[in-house]
């Protein structure tokens, strides 16, 4: 069971959280302007890196907030967590 550092509540056990998929994929402002392919990319296509991955988590059984995290998919350790809306931290050693 992972320990996840909620930007609001601090370190909490994984069981209080829900995973929310890859982060920083903003919903297009005008979806109808997109081609089918562009829409499919937004809907379905994700980077799935081996290494550092920016992803969304929600502290659903805590403060209820969505936030973002950078987690290493190889080691399962978190590199950083940050509030929704904040930019992805510039962490050296990006996706391996």
């Amino acid at each position: 069971m992972l320990i996840i550092n909620c930007p609001w509540c601090g370190a909490r056990p994984e069981i209080e959280f829900r995973y929310g998929g890859e982060a920083h994929i903003a919903r297009p402002a005008d979806p109808s302007a997109l081609s089918d392919q562009e829409w499919a990319d937004f809907l379905y296509n994700r980077t799935n890196p081996k290494g550092r991955h920016a992803e969304r988590w929600r502290h659903i059984h805590g403060c209820g907030r969505y936030f973002n995290a950078v987690r290493d998919t190889v080691s399962d350790f978190f590199v950083a967590t940050y509030k929704a809306g904040e930019p992805r931290p510039d962490i050296a050693g990006e996706t391996k």
């Binding site: 069971m1 609001w8 509540c9 601090g10 909490r12 056990p13 069981i15 209080e16 059984h61 805590g62 403060c63 209820g64 907030r65």
Partner: protein, 184 residues
Amino acid sequence: MPDNAALQRLSEGLRPIEAVRLSLLGPAARLAFRSREAGIGPAGEAFGVALPREANRFGQSGSRFAFWLGPDEWLLLAPGEDAAPLAAAIEAATLGVPHALVDVSSRSVGIEIAGREAAFALNQGCPLDLSLAAFPIGMCTRTLLGKAEIVLVRLGPELFHLDVWRSFAPYVIGYLDEARREFA
């Protein structure tokens, strides 16, 4: 007419265990208050308890409590009071300020768990560190107890309150009763 008869029966049927005492708390006004910064001050003033800005802390004045549950979310609790006049006062104080105030008095019930082994019993289902250093008096948070979500509040070294959605209350009481059985 209002009653929690089934719950009352359940909690009254529990055997007394001094190390972990369990009891059902009485009815209370509960208001879910949501707002950005502008509403925090006026709402607290109208309720009579300043809404804490620090995460996972509660404010108290007399018997009224304001629990921080999220950065824009507070649970206002007034045991034994009627929610309607409280809500009216807060609505009046926050007129024109974007906010949401919802009466959730009947949504949950309160449970008190007290005694020398209260934290130990809670830790049979709650994954948080309940040492006084990690979960001090004055702390409150949503968390889990077994498979139920609860709001856990620490009022004293050996005194906790739980707020749990009413349909989960029999499970939570049963779970805690099972957890404390080794101290019978």
